[in-house]
Symmetry: C2
Subunit: 253 residues, 2 copies
């Protein structure tokens, strides 16, 4: 299934005024980023947009055009502020229809909970042609349309939907990484970092400083899709730091 | 200074591979969103982009054109992967220069820490015409260029820079909000929410469901720039919920 000779990319659109107001701290960017890594798909951009049709349409249109996959979270509940499905259908240029299987799922879920009302039936609406992503927590399914995955915003429910998608998506070259931690100011080893990266063409070195207990440290994350180059680059950086009398902690601090 | 008759908008660009890999959980979207609220500026979009020049240039160009303010976090350190200043200068069409005051700050900061090296001097580089944002933690300043604010990515340092900017930015109409919490499925009160919002034209009602201890609840956040309408809308929603035998917790659950 996978084409390991190329990198598969994904973009994420987090939809919700509550994230932009600061009221709710987003957890889906990190959660989906980590999950995508396991699927050998690289998250290359994420956007947080308001509960505004034009904002959703713009993001979906721009990001679908240049990524293998696009994921959205939020705005698929039963209330008036849940406009994701309508906005995405508009972006796709297809009508919104009630999905028969989604309606059945909701009828079962709400059988002992007061029945399916007009509001609850909103959660069976999908862009025409879509399939469903199971939601084992609260019934209302997520939606897949081609390379677009429309998921819930509540992180536990998103997690269940990701779980249902695990292993289902075509992925490419795995991005491998190693981390070296060091009690050093990154500015003191900037030349070493630059030169080591330059000497290992397939590798990127990220430098992430921190300050703890009055001391300065940094983690250096080396990434590559080539396992041998990754190992060689990691050895070279560790040796370079050791030469400068900077002991290295494998796996990071 | 403020023009309270209009809404001032801001966009945020979070720059960093470490957020997109899932390694680091972003804290700056929520932190900056909350801080902007206090300045009476509304965060209307946020993007997370990779440490890639073209991605930064695209985001800066698009978001500056349609917002009163643009903030960036990340990529202003001393290492090779810190490309924010160069990318933003490219987007602005101005050269990168060493800011004399920034150089002085770094010379003082590193006087007892091994002196200013070429790598450290990178942190004094700014788009020509920029001014500085103080950094009380680690010396290296943030950068202001017109309506663009270039800040550090480490959340404590970002916080210090925001603190230095507090009260300095022109803001507009304050977005006021009230929260009502209720042990109810949002789908059971969807019509009430929709009608109450419709009856109070200046108000938006957001519905945020949660599941706790096997029970279903929701917080309803009512927002408006009009204090009287906000109070009236909140009263109407609370009364509507009480009429349905759904006791309300002011301030949310």
């Amino acid at each position: 299934m996978a084409d390991s000779s190329r990198i598969y990319t994904a973009a994420l659109i987090v939809i919700g005024d509550e994230i932009l107001s600061g009221r709710t701290h987003d957890k889906n960017i990190a959660q989906i980023a980590s999950w995508l890594g396991v699927q050998n798909i690289r998250l290359v951009e994420a956007r947080v947009v308001a509960d505004v049709t034009e904002a959703i349409v713009e993001a979906v249109t721009a990001l679908r055009a240049r990524n293998d996959y696009v994921f959205t979270t939020g705005g698929i509940g039963p209330t008036h502020d849940d406009i994701t499905v309508d906005a995405i259908a508009e972006a796709l240029g297809v009508p919104v229809v009630v999905h028969p299987e989604a309606r059945e799922i909701l009828e079962r879920h709400y059988e002992t909970r007061g029945g399916v009302t007009e509001a609850r039936l909103r959660m069976a609406r999908v862009p025409e042609g879509a399939t469903l992503i199971p939601n084992r927590y609260t019934g209302a399914p997520g939606i897949r349309y081609d390379n677009l995955f429309i998921m819930a915003g509540v992180p536990q429910i998103t997690a269940g939907m990701l779980d249902a998608l695990s292993g289902q998506l075509e992925g490419g070259a795995a991005l491998l990484s190693e981390t070296l931690g060091c009690w050093v100011a990154e500015s003191a080893v900037a030349d070493l970092l630059r030169e080591t990266e330059k000497a290992h063409a397939s590798c990127q070195i990220g430098s992430y400083p921190f300050w703890r207990d009055g001391k300065t440290g940094a983690n250096f994350v080396i990434r590559s899709i080539d396992a041998e180059e990754l190992a060689a680059c990691t050895r070279a950086l560790a040796a370079g730091l050791a030469d400068m009398d900077k002991p290295v902690t494998m796996g990071g601090i």
